[in-house]
């Protein structure tokens, strides 16, 4: 019961996010030529958007300050980090080492997201999926993905 109460409210976080994006935008757009309404420069439209973001962010953030606002909950880092790591590991290994290495790697890293002891299952799935992808996507559809390390 105490854990959720110490988290910031959803609206406050959303508001901060919008304000941050709007402010960052304005900062990056400052050196651009804004022009005028009749001759919109490169910076005109995005700057308008940034102002809108600041306004909305302020409104949402203020709404989130009340004590009864809904709090952010259920943030678990493990699934997110594992999925990121799995995709990154695939992305980094598929070109130099091919599908045969990258795909099983993806599955084994990905499997870390769920606490499990059935690694045999994962291994079998890895073999099956690699074969499937190689046959359907590389041989069948002709996607230019290397299969074996060369």
């Amino acid at each position: 019961m105490s854990k959720p109460d110490t988290m910031p409210s959803k609206d406050l976080c959303s508001g901060i996010m919008f304000v941050a994006l709007g402010a960052a935008g304005l900062f990056l757009l400052a050196p651009l030529d804004h022009g005028s309404a009749s001759r919109m420069g490169a910076g005109y439209f995005p700057t308008l958007i940034c102002f809108a973001l600041l306004a909305i962010g302020a409104a949402v953030g203020l709404r989130g300050i009340s004590r009864t606002a809904a709090r952010v909950q259920g943030m678990q880092l493990r699934p997110l980090l594992v999925v990121m790591a799995a995709i990154l590991s695939f992305g980094l290994t598929v070109r130099p080492l091919g599908l045969a290495v990258a795909l099983p790697l993806l599955l084994f890293v990905g499997a870390l997201a769920i606490p499990r002891e059935r690694w045999l299952e994962v291994a079998l799935l890895a073999i099956a999926m690699t074969a499937f992808v190689a046959l359907v996507f590389v041989v069948g559809l002709g996607l230019p993905i290397k299969v074996l390390p060369r």
Partner: protein, 500 residues
């Protein structure tokens, strides 16, 4: 009128090409599959499969992706009826009476009525698109830049107000999308904007990696966070409805189809909205509303017809106006642009094969779906037993293949990761992501029309209210805004989303 049949006939010849038939079948199959499986939806699937369709002909690609969308409506009803878990957001109402019927041993009737009602609705909707589409197209061709601008404002406002969740935050997300859409080189002045000095960003953010990150991966992560449920399926029993059930379903199917077509055309509408509306209507029209929630077949027939009609009708703004009505349509527009097709009313004349082929493919797809869904029902039920821990790995593979096929640049991979994190934060902060993708896709077009409108009017902003069409769209947008601002209307909106 004969024109329509001629055009549909032409469309059918386009669909008859083996590649397109295969694509329609693949789309229908995959659609049913993901519709049945809770934990992955058509939006995420289309986002993940988008890069794999690059190598295909644009017609083939769109036929398949479209098949996934309306196919998912069929599949979603299966789980809703048998397991009381909505496979899709549009099947939520089907759970109410559909599962009640299943518990009474009438699952077969419910499934059959759902499939047949959907098929009827799909056929009618196909004809409706063929009829309304060209009319809308010819109207749209007379639009001036100011009118287009206001149309897009209306589409964005509609998408926000008709969506669930906090409208204010949804607006914020629209603006985030619009801002992200400006990243890259400004076409008019040639200056680089918001590119952080990276030459790879000169062409913009790359719509596909953004969509994959924010819809595909975020959904996977969200599902991993939820605990797995044990799935208990009800027995199916006889697949044919009784005579009285059949008779009772006829009017709701007709009404549902009509509701679906009307709400599907509206930007922000689509399958889900149509099915909720149909349920409300059937309940209000029934002589004994108390039966609803306890196995009233009208509560299955109407919404199931509506969600299919709504899904297909939401293609009308896409094909005729080039304006996406919901996030999935936005993805399809992105797909078209990647294939070099500029969306807009001119598609009907510049790419009639795409226009009519896609429409005709919906009829073919519906036919395939009835066949896939009814006899093969046992197969789908068996699939429900696959534990999510394995399913998720399979989805991850497709995700990775898609990510690879997208890019020869490490930047795209980074974009996928950045937007996965962004999508995750939005999920936790309860900010809806579909409005963002709408803003992203419409942004550059919107800016272009805004610029032209202001050049014509020499900087005079009143041009938007002095032109009748433009004024009309803005008034409609304001009416929708009033829906959320005034409390009386606000409770009505909530009512539609709560079950009746």
């Amino acid at each position: 009128m004969t024109d329509i049949w001629q055009n549909l006939g032409y469309g059918l010849t386009v669909v008859a090409a083996p590649a397109n038939l295969l694509a329609a079948f693949a789309g229908a199959l995959v659609g049913t599959l993901i519709g049945v499986l809770p934990g992955i939806g058509p939006l995420a699937t289309v986002a993940l499969l988008l890069p794999l369709t690059f190598a295909l002909d644009p017609v083939t690609a769109l036929v398949m992706l479209a098949g996934i969308y309306y196919g998912a409506q069929y599949g979603g009803s299966t789980t809703a009826i048998l397991v009381n878990i909505p496979g899709e957001s549009s099947s939520v109402v089907t759970c109410l009476d559909g599962h009640a019927m299943a518990r009474q041993g009438r699952a077969g009737s419910a499934l059959a009525v759902a499939a047949l009602g959907s098929f009827f609705a799909g056929c009618v909707a196909t004809v409706a698109i063929a009829v309304f589409g060209p009319t809308l197209t010819s109207v749209a061709l007379s639009f001036r830049p100011a009118d287009y601008c206001s149309l897009m404002v209306f589409a964005l406002v509609a998408a926000v107000t008709l969506a669930r969740g906090s409208p204010l935050k949804a607006f914020g997300m629209v603006f985030v999308g619009l801002l992200l859409g400006t990243v890259g080189t400004d076409l008019t002045s040639g200056t680089a904007r918001l590119t952080l000095g990276l030459p790879e960003l000169a062409e913009g953010l790359g719509f596909v990696p953004v969509a994959m990150g924010i819809f595909g991966i975020t959904e996977i992560v969200a599902n991993l966070e939820r605990r797995e449920r044990r799935i208990d399926t009800a027995r199916i029993g006889r697949l044919l409805p009784s005579a009285s059930e059949f008779r009772a379903s006829i009017a709701p199917v007709f009404r549902g189809t009509g509701i679906g077509i009307l709400l599907g055309i509206l930007p922000g509408g689509g399958a889900a909205m149509s099915s909720y509306a149909s349920y409300m209507v059937e309940k209000r029209l029934a002589r004994e509303p108390g039966r609803f929630g306890h196995g009233a077949i009208e509560g299955v027939a109407g919404p199931e017809a509506a969600n299919n009609a709504g899904a297909q009708a939401s293609f009308i703004p896409l094909l005729s106006l080039g304006v996406p009505g919901n996030a999935l349509m936005a993805l399809l527009i992105g797909a078209m642009m990647i294939h070099g097709i500029v969306p807009g009313p001119q598609i009907m004349t510049t790419r009639p094969d795409l226009y009519w082929g896609l429409i005709a493919s919906m009829w073919v797809g519906n036919l395939m779906l009835v066949i896939i869904n009814l006899p093969l029902i046992g197969l789908w039920v068996a699939l429900l037993r696959v534990p999510y821990r394995l399913l998720y790995l399979v989805i991850l593979v497709f995700c990775a293949i898609g990510a690879y096929a997208v890019n020869n640049s490490s930047l795209d991979l980074i974009i996928v990761i950045v937007f996965s994190i962004f999508g995750y934060l939005c999920l936790k902060f309860e900010c809806e992501t579909p409005p963002m993708i709408l803003g992203l896709v419409l942004g550059p077009l919107f800016e272009e029309y805004l610029r032209r409108a202001l050049i014509f009017s020499k900087g005079d902003w009143s041009t938007f209210v002095t032109h009748p069409i433009s004024l009309g769209f803005l008034l409609a947008a304001s009416a929708l805004l009033a829906l959320i601002i005034f409390p009386a209307m606000r409770s009505k909106r909530h009512e539609v989303f709560q079950d009746g």
